[in-house]
């Protein structure tokens, strides 16, 4: 134990190591604070949905109550959905800053609504967030390089290497030093994160997994530093070589891979879905309304015994052609989604070779802020939207009046 204290004193007496560890600690706390602030902001935004939403619906209800028309209620009522941040979202904001986490939908065509974004400042999103994932993936390796590039070469350049090697247990000496530096880095990195993660109620399994991944990532860079150190170059050459490796692994190869993946896996642009859906929806005005109803009833026989359309406008026709429009692009929607998933899977596969990519993928997965989580949110929206439609159809297709009190019966989005 005493020897460890000696090594610790030796490490902390070196100005570079002390400054590096202090800086990393500061950044680590800052990253956790910044990530938590962003997640809190998102939680707050979700928490305050209810009040304005209710007054909005109340105003619509007061107006619709005069006609008791379920169609107007369906047309004018927007229903909020939201994607509450997971307990670990603070550690890896992932896509949450560019993808909407609140989306209001109404019972019209969903394909014209589900791709809408929220308001965000693109210039702020461009450089990426300052969160724990960024600190770990991008900055931590630089600190590994600072602490490990001269592990052996520094002793050699100071002339101490021969004497140290002549001591009994010289091998243990290096192991001890590696272990100590690793432990210090890991401690400084992991402590703020762990405290914040426990505080936000994350599961022990996920926390341990992230800590293990962080440790493995650090060990990867340490192994690389030791490998370079074995070449017997000077400390300066080691530092330059390691910094080049960092540049290539964290910046150059991922950006190159991004270009390659997007080229290799073309994704039918979402725009094409929007264009096709809008054509389908609007073409309903050009064809006999009965034809639309026939197509609708074919896939939704449960409403088929609804009274036939009269000469005047009826919202059940309007909602029906919206749904038929949605259904007509279902194939394109599936293909679009599959394309996105293929791109994502390609990047994840790359993560097995490129540790920075692998770690980022793992962190955003555990934090539920990746594409998969976004798609899962879309699935929940789709599910909710189906309930919305069924709810309004229950009035429209049976010509039940829709009064003020019925607004409260509308399905409510439930966050998992």
């Amino acid at each position: 134990m005493r020897i460890w204290m000696h090594e610790l004193r030796l490490l902390l007496r070196a100005r570079l190591a002390l400054v590096a560890l202090a800086l990393l600690g500061t950044l680590s706390i800052a990253a956790v604070v910044a990530g938590s602030a962003e997640v809190d902001r998102q939680r707050d935004a979700i928490a305050v949905i209810a009040e304005p939403q209710e007054s909005d619906i109340a105003a619509i209800a007061a107006w619709v109550d005069k006609s008791k028309d379920a169609g107007s209620a369906a047309y004018y009522s927007f229903h909020p959905t939201w994607d509450a941040p997971s307990p670990l979202a603070f550690a890896a904001i992932g896509m949450r800053d560019v993808a909407p986490f609140i989306l209001r939908v109404r019972a019209l065509g969903l394909e014209a609504q589900i791709y809408d974004g929220d308001i965000f400042n693109p210039e702020l999103a461009l450089p990426g967030r300052f969160d724990f994932a960024f600190l770990l993936v991008f900055l931590a390796p630089l600190f590994v390089i600072a602490l490990f590039h001269d592990l052996v070469s520094g002793e050699r350049e100071a002339g101490r290497e021969p004497m140290l090697c002549a001591l009994p247990g010289a091998r243990r000496l290096w192991l001890r030093r590696v272990a100590l530096r690793f432990a210090m880095l890991f401690l400084v990195l992991a402590l703020p994160f762990t405290i914040a993660a426990i505080h936000s109620g994350a599961g022990a399994g996920a926390i341990l997994l992230i800590l293990a991944a962080a440790a493995a990532y650090l060990l990867f860079w340490i192994a690389l530093a030791l490998l370079v150190g074995r070449l017997g170059w000077s400390s300066v050459a080691n530092a330059a070589t390691l910094a080049s490796c960092w540049l290539v692994l964290t910046l150059v190869l991922p950006t190159l891979a991004h270009v390659t993946i997007n080229r290799a896996i073309p994704v039918g642009q979402g725009t094409e879905i929007a264009l096709a859906q809008r054509e389908k929806v609007n073409s309903a005005w050009e064809i006999p309304r009965e034809e639309t109803m026939r197509r609708f009833y074919a896939t939704h026989p449960e409403w088929a015994d609804s009274p036939p359309l009269g000469p005047e406008f009826h919202y059940k026709w309007y909602l029906a052609f919206h749904q038929v429009g949605d259904e007509s692009v279902a194939g394109q929607v599936r293909a679009y989604r599959a394309g996105l998933e293929r791109r994502d899977a390609a990047a994840r596969t790359l993560g097995w070779v490129l540790p920075p990519v692998g770690l980022q993928a793992l962190l955003t997965r555990l934090a539920e802020t990746d594409l998969e989580a976004q798609l899962a949110y879309q699935d929940r929206i789709r599910d909710f939207h189906r309930h919305l439609r069924e709810f309004y159809y229950g009035y429209l297709f049976t010509d039940r009046p829709f009064g003020q009190e019925d607004f409260a019966r509308a399905p409510r989005f439930a966050s998992p």
């Binding site: 101490r160 002549a166 247990g169």
Partner: protein
């Protein structure tokens, strides 16, 4: 002279080649307890390689090596437990004090000692008291050697290996150091010093070996009060090298 006990350092028929270059060529030498052996030779004669072999850094192609009865390659840790080694430039941790350095080196060797013991050894090694708690940044080579010798004394190692200990020391520091070595010998330690400083060797060694082209070409033991005949030695040294 203490009676010749079991040899603390023994090399016999040691050969070692780096590629086509034969560095050691049937080297044989023996250092007993309480003896100072000076190994003299020119550049490239094989002095440093001899030390490497004794420290277990290099494995000989042929021959037997025993340090305190142990094979330094096969039983590296056990052998190093019994060796103290001072390189030509004793480099220690500049940002630690003398006591902290000693404390740390002892801990590294797995033989921690209390502060009183360290201070005692510093006294024995002749390190001035005001230097004890100073950071090593401003220490001279002689002072660093004293710290390292103090550590060797505390570790009570049977074998002390020195690489050019007096190069770069002024005459007074050299005399100091030689006095210290004599004290080490009195404890029964076997000392092997590698040097090209004939004067220093003559001053302190019990036996002087001349190494050239990887083997001992001549060996002289100290005799009587005069110990060595310096002029004769100088001539033999020059002849040996010329003959080889």
């Amino acid at each position: 002279m203490p009676e010749p006990a079991s040899a603390s350092i023994e090399l016999s028929g040691v050969s070692l080649s780096y590629g086509a270059h034969r560095v050691l060529d049937g080297l044989a030498l023996r250092v007993d307890r309480g003896m100072i052996y000076a190994l003299l030779g020119g550049n490239g004669a094989g002095k440093s390689t001899t030390l490497s072999v004794l420290l277990g850094f290099a494995k000989p192609d042929a021959g037997a090596v025993r340090v305190a009865g142990l094979d330094p390659v096969a039983k590296a840790d056990a052998a190093r437990q019994r060796i103290a080694y001072l390189p030509e430039n004793v480099a220690l941790y500049e940002h630690l004090t003398a006591i902290e350095n000693a404390d740390y080196l002892l801990a590294l060797s797995g033989e921690p000692k209390p502060r009183e013991a360290i201070v005692g050894a510093f006294g024995a090694a002749g390190l001035q008291e005001r230097a004890w708690d100073q950071q090593l940044g401003g220490f001279s080579k002689g002072m660093r050697q004293k710290v390292a010798i103090a550590v060797a004394l505390l570790r009570e190692v049977p074998v002390l290996l020195l690489d050019e200990p007096t190069s770069g020391l002024d005459p007074r520091a050299t005399a100091d150091f030689n006095g210290l070595l004599a004290a080490v010998r009195e404890r029964g330690t076997a000392v092997l010093m590698v040097t090209h400083d004939l004067m220093s060797a003559v001053d302190v060694a019990d036996r002087i070996g001349f190494i050239d082209a990887g083997r001992i070409v001549d060996e002289v033991a100290a005799e009587g009060a005069e110990r060595f005949d310096l002029r004769a030695l100088h001539d033999r040294f020059a002849n040996d090298v010329a003959a080889a």
